[in-house]
């Protein structure tokens, strides 16, 4: 990876919850941004630019909200850039911010993703009826369930793998004070018996609707060297996109996903991701996407990802490749922030600052986001040492 070495200097998150009615959108983003600055031990004046991302403006009904958020984010008179790549936006936003440091345009950049889902209803915002078309009114789950069915048929995965992922991520969330869902009494049986929403996706296998924001402060090599607390060094960054519908598209294992993974691991000099990555924060809004992405990203052989779920390899307790120690998207989903949370949690793990869901001895971590019809991808590898 060329260019300026880039470090994550600070991370800030809000508590994720179904309704942050106590704050405006400005108050919400301010909370995360301020915590990231505190973590980085920097002031507003030391930030050169802000890169902000969120899912469609339609989700809150505020068009180009970044303009009014300039006051709250301390960037009046500074460059501000808005990124929009659907559900992967939190990851893409972090990568755009990183590119501004890598290219030496800026020395320190604040990057932030947010969503305030309580101000609308995102599931149905994605399913507006169109003239002369049959509306399936299915939401995101309806879009992804046939793809999951295809994966199950191809791989021969047992029916309850998705429930195992969901139960694991909800248990992981209990150790993350920022997670939206803290279901201490949840049992595996309760996950299995939860209502079938979009066969094979049960209620407990879906992500919640959350309010929340996540921010990071990224800096150049000198800023990383000057930090008093541990920083996470960026070892690789990659983005890829493809159309969501074309003849021969592999919807289960999209080419853009495979190429993005090959690029990011190549930059980081990683040949065997399962052996060389210590912890993974992966975008899994519906449980079955964990085994599907494990395969697509090269952590498992094709059609074998579900075996890693079944044998507990991805569990924080006893697994050799813990996945979503934070509880993941299945436990908190402020859409525009969800990708950035994956990237930020990966950074916290290599900094040794993930609190009760810290994995011992993490040297390299992987952050991942996807969006749209599993067609936009953003990934990074961070490490405790300089690349």
């Amino acid at each position: 990876m060329g260019g300026e070495r880039t470090a994550v200097l600070g991370v800030g998150q809000t508590r994720y919850s179904s309704n942050r009615g106590d704050v405006s959108i400005a108050g919400l983003v301010r909370e995360a941004a301020y915590r990231a600055l505190e973590d980085a031990r920097l002031g507003w004046a030391e930030i050169d630019a802000v890169v902000i991302g969120k899912a469609p403006d339609f989700f809150e009904g505020v068009v180009m909200p970044e303009l009014y958020l300039a006051d709250a984010l301390g960037c009046v008179g500074k460059p501000m850039l808005r990124v929009h790549t659907a559900g992967s936006v939190g990851g893409s936003t972090a990568l755009v911010a990183a590119s501004l440091v890598q290219s030496r345009v800026h020395r320190r950049v604040l990057t932030l993703g947010f969503e305030k889902q309580s101000e609308s209803n995102a599931t149905w915002a994605l399913s507006l009826p169109q003239p002369f078309s049959v509306s399936i009114n299915a939401g995101a789950g309806g879009y992804f369930s046939p793809i999951i069915r295809q994966y199950m048929a191809r791989s021969g995965a047992p029916d309850l793998i998705g429930c195992m992922v969901a139960f694991k991520d909800r248990r992981h969330a209990l150790a993350n004070p920022f997670a939206h869902l803290h279901q201490a009494d949840l049992t595996f049986e309760a996950v299995v018996e939860s209502p079938m929403l979009w066969d094979p996706i049960r209620y407990s296998e879906t992500c919640p609707s959350s309010d929340g924001a996540c921010a990071m402060v990224l800096g150049d090599e000198a800023a990383g060297d000057a930090s008093d607390s541990p920083v996470a060094w960026v070892h690789g960054t990659a983005m890829r996109s493809e159309a969501n519908n074309f003849p021969g598209r592999d919807e289960v294992n999209p080419l853009a996903s495979r190429e993005c993974a090959a690029d990011v691991f190549g930059q980081a000099g990683i040949v065997d991701p399962r052996a060389e990555i210590d912890v993974v924060e992966m975008y899994v809004p519906f449980s079955w996407y964990e085994p599907m992405w494990l395969e697509s990203l090269g952590f498992a052989e094709v059609d074998h990802g579900w075996r890693m779920v079944e044998d507990g390899s991805t569990d924080i307790e006893g697994g050799d490749l813990p996945v979503n120690c934070s509880g993941g998207v299945l436990s908190s989903n402020p859409i525009g922030a969800s990708g950035m949370i994956r990237f930020a949690e990966a950074a916290l793990q290599v900094r040794g600052m993930a609190g009760d869901h810290q994995v011992d001895g993490v040297r390299r971590a992987f952050g991942h986001a996807y969006g749209g019809g599993a067609q936009y991808f953003a990934m990074w590898v961070v490490g405790d040492q300089k690349p």
């Binding site: 405006s24 006051d71 960037c75 309580s118 009826p129």
Partner: protein, 148 residues
């Protein structure tokens, strides 16, 4: 193809939103319901109306709400004729930037006069309140020239 053969369909996109206004804008709107106008004081003592949560120059959080006057000065204005369908006013009117007494910034609202000949920059206007108030900017019917 004849015009009558073209397929047509209406697409009405309707979508509800809920707005969480937060402690500052929320207080301003609650003030409107109570028939008072609130601004917010910056560290240098200047007062912003309508109030903002964060200082527009320094980005400091602002918390000192202050009541301002119900009359003020028209800093600039434009004449609206005819009003668009979404306008809160059905008859021609002025839209004006009004700096209320005690405020250092101007607020956009309507001035309810019959003709642009009744408008001048620098004129004084006074708030006219709606009878039924709910905590919305339309709790102010508008402003009228202050009796001289």
């Amino acid at each position: 193809m004849a015009e009558s053969e073209l397929l047509r369909a209406d697409l009405v996109v309707e979508y509800p939103f809920t707005r969480s206004t937060g402690p500052v804008v929320g207080a301003f709107l609650t003030g409107l319901r109570e028939g008072i106008l609130l601004g917010i004081q910056r560290r240098d003592g200047t007062v912003l109306v309508p109030p903002t949560e964060y200082d527009p120059v320094t980005s400091e959080p602002l918390t000192e709400m202050v009541e301002v006057g119900q009359a003020g000065v028209v800093e600039t204005w434009t004449w609206v004729d005819p009003p668009r369908p979404q306008s809160p006013w059905e008859v021609p009117h002025a839209l004006a930037m009004i700096r209320l007494d005690g405020a250092d910034t101007a607020m956009l609202h309507g001035v309810l006069v019959d003709s642009p000949t009744e408008m001048t920059t620098g004129m004084r206007v006074r708030a006219v309140w709606a009878d039924q108030r709910v905590g919305h900017i339309a709790d102010l019917d508008g402003f009228r020239p202050e009796a001289s």
